[in-house]
């Protein structure tokens, strides 16, 4: 097999700290090589080295060779690599133009256009002519990813580096992304996959390198390393999502005994929510009981976040009636009393965006108690410290600013902030997506602990991932296209789904593992 890229003993050092230390790697045509590791393990630095890009001020030693020519790059968020002010066709045309310089001048235009169309259809984009005329924001995330892939194909790249292509995607979408990259590899193009998603790695990769702290700790063909790479298995707990765990729904589900044992906390009458004139969500009555965890599961765009925002008073374009402990809850946040605000708390997906970057985390966390419960500043700080240490952070960490905390640490701080309001209902909106397996596991354990220790706290867990739901939920509501297609006790929904959509979600999440 001919190598299209080779890295020998690469060491990248910034300010005396090695991001990557002694990594060697050989990529062959038509094969998928996966670099696996938690965030900060040096995956992205290695991947970018293949593109000849290094962090600012980096000291680089070792050798990176690309006998196969330039490499294409599919970033984690493909939308950021597309120019918001230009139609999709603009860059594709310019790339194609660099490839047809040999032709006579008058034939170039038509030849370039042909190449663009061919690349788009190789990237499995239907109706390429229409896509060319769109702006990036008019494309879905999947289409954006395929456009970026088409750019690489157009360049004639023999190597494509894909950075976390499946992060934050639901099971069905993940399956499609895996198929897409498998198709690329079948065309004889080498794929370097940077991922912390072991299911995807297993489904896609031929060779696996496990990285930790910038070093390769294990490597080999995927078959030899699985069921799970030894280093990952021994050092870290396995992923929570997987069919192996689906039937074994214990703990939370059994904790409340009979379904409906707790007192009713939150009740939503039939609810129709709109964005502008489009109806995005229609539900029948939903109830949340004390001590219960209701998981709202669905693909992106199914209306699950809208439902959560309606409950929290962040979206008032709906006509449903909300009852908290039997008393009506105003639709808008602005009309709710402090007690009502405290009772329903929201934790957002992007913890970093939910903190002010200029103030220490602890001060922001403690503020909830002062604002919503009228606690004294000193008491609030003391309570914040004790709660935050209970969730596995140290006081020293939270005295820093948000930039110095990792995504998982910030998410714990965000949870603490919500808990200081002493809420009855805690809404967690995709709070584990975008985190690596280990961190996700830790957060889910924390949530399970909260349900166990804090009597009277109910959880609304918004997630696209059935695995996450299975780990915590007492009841599951499945949303598709703005409708609740199925709702029931978690065990029943997971073991004998009634609606075909639930079944297909279960099936894909099984196949992915």
């Amino acid at each position: 097999m001919n190598a299209v890229a080779e890295i020998r003993d690469l060491r990248v050092e910034v300010d005396g700290r090695a991001l990557v230390d002694g990594v060697s790697l050989r990529v062959t045509a038509g094969k998928v090589t996966a670099l696996v590791g938690a965030s900060g393990s040096g995956k992205t630095t290695t991947g970018l080295a293949l593109l000849g890009e290094y962090p600012a001020g980096a000291r680089v030693t070792g050798e990176v060779r690309l006998p196969g020519g330039p490499a294409g790059y599919v970033p984690q968020h493909p939308g950021t690599a597309l120019n918001p002010a230009r139609r999709v066709g603009a860059l594709l045309r310019d790339i194609a133009r660099t490839r047809v310089r040999a032709l006579p001048r008058r034939e170039r235009r038509a030849a370039a256009h042909q190449r663009v169309l061919r690349a788009l259809s190789l990237a499995q984009l239907p109706d390429p002519e229409a896509v060319l005329r769109r702006y990036p924001h008019q494309l879905s995330g999947g289409q954006q990813q395929r456009v970026v892939l088409a750019q690489a194909l157009l360049l004639g790249a023999r190597l494509v580096v894909a950075d976390e292509p499946t992060t934050g995607q639901d099971a069905l979408t993940k399956q499609r992304i895996v198929d897409r990259f498998a198709a690329v590899a079948r065309q004889g193009i080498a794929v370097v996959l940077l991922s912390h998603d072991l299911d995807v790695v297993r489904a896609l990769a031929d060779e696996v390198l496990v990285l930790r702290d910038g070093r390769v700790v294990e490597s080999g063909p995927v078959d030899r390393l699985w069921p799970a790479p030894r280093r990952l298995r021994t050092a870290e707990p396995p992923a929570t999502d997987g069919p192996a765990e689906l039937p074994a729904v214990h703990g939370p589900a059994d904790r409340t005994g009979l379904p409906g044992a707790g007192r009713e906390v939150l009740r939503v009458g039939g609810l129709t929510a709109r964005h502008g004139r489009t109806t995005v969500l229609r539900t029948s009555a939903l109830t949340l009981r004390a001590g219960e965890c209701l998981a709202v599961v669905g693909r992106s765009g199914s209306g699950k976040t809208t439902l959560a925002r309606c409950l929290a008073g962040l979206h008032r374009g709906h006509d449903g009636e909300l009852l908290l402990d039997g008393a009506p809850l105003p639709r808008s946040l602005r009309d709710r009393t402090r007690a009502q605000l405290a009772a329903v708390q929201y934790v957002f997906q992007d913890a970093r965006a939910a903190f002010d970057e200029h103030r220490p985390v602890l001060a922001q966390v403690a503020r909830t108690a002062v604002r919503l419960r009228g606690a004294a500043e000193a008491d609030a700080l003391a309570e914040a410290v004790s709660t935050v240490t209970g969730l596995g952070l140290t006081e020293r960490q939270v005295r820093r600013r948000p930039a110095q905390l990792s995504g998982g640490e910030l998410q714990r701080a965000a949870l603490t902030r919500a808990l200081l309001a002493r809420p009855r209902v805690l809404i967690c909106d995709e709070i584990t997506s975008g985190l690596d397996t280990v961190t996700r596991r830790g957060i889910l354990d924390t949530l399970a602990g909260l349900l166990r220790d804090r009597r009277g706290l109910s959880l609304v867990l918004i997630t696209h991932d059935l695995g996450t739901a299975a780990a915590l939920a007492t009841r599951i509501a499945v949303l598709d296209g703005g409708e609740v297609v199925e709702e029931g006790p978690a065990r029943r929904v997971l073991t004998s789904p009634e609606h075909p959509f639930t079944a297909s979600l279960l099936e894909t999440s099984t196949r992915m593992t």
């Binding site: 790059y73 690599a81 597309l82 120019n83 310019d94 790339i95």
Partner: protein, 317 residues
Amino acid sequence: MTGLASWTARRLLLGAAQTAAVVLLVFALTEALPGDAAVALAGDQPDPERIAAVRKALDLDRPAHERLLEWAGGLLHGDFGTSLASGRPVSTYLTGGFGPTLLLASLTLVLLVPAGVGLGVLAARHEGRFTDRLVSSVTLGVYAVPEFAFGVLLTTVFALRLGWLPPTAVGYGTDLLAHPSALVLPVLVLLSRPVCSLARLVRAGMIDALASPYVAQARRHGVTGARLRYGHALPNAIAPAAQQLARTVDWLLCGVIVVEALYVIPGLGTVLMNAVAERDVPVVQGLAVVFGVTAVVLNLGADLVVRRFAPRAEVAA
């Protein structure tokens, strides 16, 4: 595109309302000035009887709102009314003054856009290095000098000391194009500050755009040089510059009084000055209508450009 059409229509309606408000305000302010056209016409010997006679002849003794309504009624038929001072139709004042102003504005604009954008891109390309520091400090310095001071300085050096250029446009009438040398200094003065603000805005936008992931992606795929800078980075830097440009053109078209006065150019600014001095209310109102419509149309144009180059904004709106 129906969304765009209805948005444009709403903007135009709003613009009409804004223009009407401007006219009302200008009318009220002119009325509030001490004296009126009759006093101005009466000249150095203000004889109360003569003033009263003139006032009656000019219909100035009628209540203000009646005069305003009558004038507005005429406007609906395209009639701007007649000047109180000379009895000539207001439209002749407007067309006469518009020629020189438009000429100055277009010349300035033709030089302004390439110079401002070019300097901005040049500075952004060399961010933090000598070229950038030179461009940035010179533009900041020039921007700090007001037009009249810069105009006096240029006139002193190039017209009076060196004698290369005529100091004013006196004696050339409204046909300035036949005497290009008279235009050099006014255009330079008009250019001075807008070039600086435009260059600085483009520089800031370009620095962001050049550091963006999409420009990195284009670079990775072999798109380099001028095509990268002007084709892929610049469109993202255009939105703020377009709005600044609309303000500049508005300022140019509405007669830059200081520059016209300094170089004695018979443009709209000069017409406005004279009309206010003579309390010639219909001419002032006519100018207010022209200025209002110009401002509305230019800002609408700028917003359309911004929509084109920041298309995501329509999602949020």
